[in-house]
Subunit: 261 residues, 2 copies
């Protein structure tokens, strides 16, 4: 079954019923997907402040009310605990398990953060005639830990994680202007060119995801990555943390084209 | 003495020493000025979430660390309690007094929010050849309470306040594109044209500020206003609240042209 042209409500319902448990890449074309970070209220202020101080790696699409399992602004009627195909639960920094439904773990003191995802800017890039290498190859985007420190907030601190896409020299400016229009999904690149300048030693050895080849006439372009807030959240080893499993995102009712504000 | 060409550090120092106690309009040309809201930590999460959900009326330039009197990112070395010419203190919603220095009222549980101000987009508008009527007339901008409800967050809720500027029809599009470039100072207009559409009965009777004439061939254009977060904060009647006095803003070291991110 092809979910490319399905609407988000239908797909979230199928996920909720356990009929979809796969990664969400390519589902509900044109609609924004998001990263999930769920934390107890005691961490919520520091984490929200961290996202405010670091909007490029941590573009907030929505924050739930305390104890609420719904994202009413971006996905009315949603159930945060069941509408993602696969979740991870961490306790004090240790992975407790992977689940397709986390409703039985829900607590009234939890706050859910939905953060923008680069899926939202890759579709417009392709529409503008820019090849996205890892999509062409059918692998995951290569991600790297940089020497750029995020601005700390309370207990949260850590380096920025970036994703890399090789872009032909003649399309670099277009890649900047396309992503500039989408500040809620990481916005403009963090860096263009020499990886050593931001502390990356070997582009063929990403810290997360898969390596991709860079052809002659192409330059590596780096965007702030939504793995940053997850990595930072995990580093603090909070007593309890729910995230989506990599690639298994929350699908919203908001079109990518509406994210510009 | 003319402070138009002075740098922000010098002017903040003069304010700190009590040598300037006047409104800051026209000081330190090109540098962003901000609205101040200081609240006890117990209100900080809800207020930060309110700004996240309502970025147009509440564009956050910086949030201090708890108990810190400095805005290190936008004004290194600043003293939040002494670098504004005039402050107001409210207790349980009642004005306790106006002060040129609030350092003796400081508490370790306070959090300071610096919010973008429309001064930052009026200069670029004038540079683009758009007359800003209240500046021409030397009065305050007219502000109105609308029927647009902000998205509530915790204890904070209330209607959006807007500022109005009459714009000639042939310059309305320019006014939109100029302000679009500055999302951190309210961004694009909330509404263009018929005031009744957003619940405003009489443009000559603003809720705050001064009325300005609208000439033939001009249309009223409305932007979200930084008075919104102050009005909303005061409505909750927090146990303790410090704000700047109207027109007496915090001057940052950040140029307006850098606010685009």
């Amino acid at each position: 079954m092809d979910f490319y042209h399905q609407d988000p409500k239908t797909v979230r319902q199928m996920i909720r019923e356990g009929k979809i448990t796969s990664p969400t890449s390519g589902m509900c074309a044109g609609y924004a997907q998001g990263n999930l970070v769920v934390l107890p209220k005691e961490y919520a202020y520091d984490f929200l402040l961290f996202t405010q101080r670091n909007p490029k790696p941590c573009p907030v699409l929505e924050v739930s009310d305390v104890g609420s399992r719904e994202f009413p602004l971006t996905a009315k009627g949603s159930d945060i605990t069941r509408d993602i195909p696969r979740y991870r639960i961490y306790e004090h920094g240790e992975l407790k398990g992977e689940y397709t439904d986390v409703s039985k773990f829900w607590r009234e003191d939890l706050v859910s953060f939905l953060l923008g995802c680069s899926f939202s800017f890759e579709a417009p890039m392709i529409e503008e005639g820019i090849e996205v290498r890892h999509i062409t190859l059918g692998c995951n985007v290569p991600m790297f830990i940089t020497n750029i420190q995020c601005k700390p907030a309370g207990v949260f601190h850590g380096p920025m994680v970036v994703s890399m896409r090789p872009i032909p020299y003649e399309k670099v400016v277009k890649a900047v202007t396309v992503t500039e229009r989408l500040p809620q999904v990481h916005g403009t690149p963090i860096h263009i060119g020499d990886p050593a300048h931001i502390g990356i030693k070997d582009l063929q050895k990403p810290d997360f995801g898969d390596p991709v080849p860079i052809h002659d006439g192409e330059v590596p372009v780096f965007w702030a990555c939504g793995v940053t807030p997850q990595a930072v959240a995990m580093q603090v080893k909070p007593s309890f943390l729910i995230t989506h499993s990599p690639g298994h995102m929350f699908i919203t009712d908001v079109k990518n084209s509406q994210l510009g504000g």
